[in-house]
């Protein structure tokens, strides 16, 4: 689903990613872990076609980046820690706007379906400005799954959420993943990642330092694995 070989990203003379090799099979839920400044967000932005790779090859859903970016974008849903929503539009209007941007036809029923999934059906005519952080984040996920993408990218989706909101987001994330989608999520919250992911990759000093499937890890061992990867 995603194949990255020898990816290098430089900002001027600062090298953020120095030769990342990364592969995701269809249906996997990969948690990309690492300390702040390790390049997780940059890496995700490259997968999302928002940033260009300096060197190396990136293929998403069988299409090359950046040359076939339009095809990739049509198959990709992205959620970042910013909501990417317009405060002066209602929930429904936000979704309708993005449906049009993705060239969807007959989006009316799809919007209702998505609103039910994220549990905001009753608030569909309210301005997004009046939503809590957690509701905005759920709507952001609704926005990202609107065009039924094969691949979802989550960049620190739990940032700024309280306990209740996080639990609700967990449910939505599980629903999204259960529909056979491939998911890559960055996080520095090990517990959250452990609850959701099927594989754990650790990004440190600009490379994937270690990778382990859930089966290979005994429960409660993630922290030890993480620390070892960072040290080594």
């Amino acid at each position: 689903m995603i194949t990255v070989t020898k990816l290098v990203k430089r900002f001027g003379y600062k090298t953020i990613l120095r030769g990342v090799d990364f592969e995701v099979q269809p249906g996997e839920f990969v948690a990309l872990l690492g300390p702040n400044g390790a390049g997780k967000t940059t890496f995700l932005r490259i997968l999302a076609s928002l940033a260009r790779p300096s060197l190396g090859e990136v293929k998403v859903a069988g299409y090359k980046l950046p040359s076939e970016a339009a095809q990739v974008r049509a198959r990709l849903g992205v959620v970042s820690h910013l909501p990417l929503l317009y405060g002066d539009l209602t929930a429904e209007e936000n979704l309708r706007f993005y449906a049009q941007m993705y060239g969807l036809t007959n989006y009316r029923s799809r919007i209702t379906e998505v609103l039910e999934m994220i549990g905001l059906e009753t608030r569909r005519r309210d301005l997004v400005r009046t939503f809590s952080r957690g509701m905005q984040q759920r709507l952001a996920i609704g926005r990202a799954v609107l065009h039924d993408p094969q691949i979802m990218l989550f960049d620190e989706p739990y940032t700024g959420l309280d306990q209740d909101a996080s639990t609700m987001l967990d449910d939505v994330l599980k629903t999204v993943a259960a529909q056979g989608r491939t998911v890559v999520m960055t996080s520095h919250d090990l517990a959250r990642a452990e609850a959701l992911a099927t594989r754990f990759d650790i990004l440190s000093r600009g490379v994937i330092a270690a990778s382990a499937a859930r089966k290979q890890l005994k429960k409660s061992n993630l922290l030890a694995f993480y620390k070892q990867a960072l040290a080594g």
Binding site: L50, A51, P83, L84, D88
Partner: protein
């Protein structure tokens, strides 16, 4: 055959995306009236200042009306352009737009058209107010055409530069500094042409500035269309 129908659907998506952006901007604006009201109040204040600074009595007014109008539009315009782009940047919405599977230039045209719409709305309110305040008739077809041409050129380059300035550290102060020297030509031609129409000058005198406005509009819409990609991608 298949090729052409695919081509067609890509093109209609392009137009639909532009339409969606314009619709979304106007919808949000007609709900909050944040941008247009700020631009309008600011315009009134600028006119008020000019009124006393230039002592706009009947005689001087005739020669400076065009200049006062365009200075007002230019100042109010930067206010609107900055705000409209900052809204996209602040909540990450620009990323949201960039993630859509349409050519990036559609985003430029969408923002350009809605910025133009805001500017024209403000101008449509300022003109009658100015007419009433100074008992002058500004509703002449020629003048309205000049205002349209001038606003097109000003927002075409303004939208591009605002998209740039909101991505810098000094974004609150940068836009007018970037925009005014580049838009100098459009403002000057517009002042000249507007003045010509207001004084009832011969068309042969007005033709040159109008042609210049058209040339400016075409060049800068084309240039922005080609360059926009470079200012949104990392």
């Amino acid at each position: 055959m298949k090729q052409s129908s695919e081509q067609l659907s890509v093109n209609s998506n392009y137009v639909r995306a532009i339409g969606a952006i314009v619709w979304k901007d106007l919808r949000a604006e007609f709900r909050s009236w944040e941008l247009v009201s700020a631009m309008f109040v600011f315009s009134l204040l600028v006119i008020l200042i000019f009124n006393f600074a230039l002592e706009l009595d009947v005689k001087t007014r005739q020669s400076v009306t065009a200049g006062v109008l365009w200075a007002t539009f230019a100042f109010a315009g930067t206010l609107g352009l900055n705000r409209s782009m900052a809204l996209e940047k602040d909540r990450g919405c620009l990323d949201g737009l960039l993630l859509a599977p349409v050519d990036r230039s559609a985003i430029y045209f969408g923002k350009f058209i809605s910025n133009l719409a805001f500017m024209l709305i403000v101008e449509a309110i300022v003109l009658p107010v100015y007419s009433v305040l100074y008992n002058a008739n500004l509703f002449q077809p020629g003048l309205i055409m000049v205002i349209l041409l001038g606003s097109v050129g000003y927002t075409a380059v303004g939208t591009l530069l605002a998209a740039m300035s909101v991505q810098t550290r000094t974004r609150d102060i940068l836009l007018p500094i970037l925009l005014f020297p580049v838009a100098f030509a459009v403002l000057l031609s517009a002042v000249k042409a507007s003045g010509g129409f207001l004084e009832g000058a011969d068309y042969s005198e007005i033709a040159f500035p109008i042609n210049l406005l058209i040339v400016y509009d075409i060049i800068f819409i084309a240039a922005s269309f080609m360059l926009f990609d470079n200012i949104v991608e990392e």
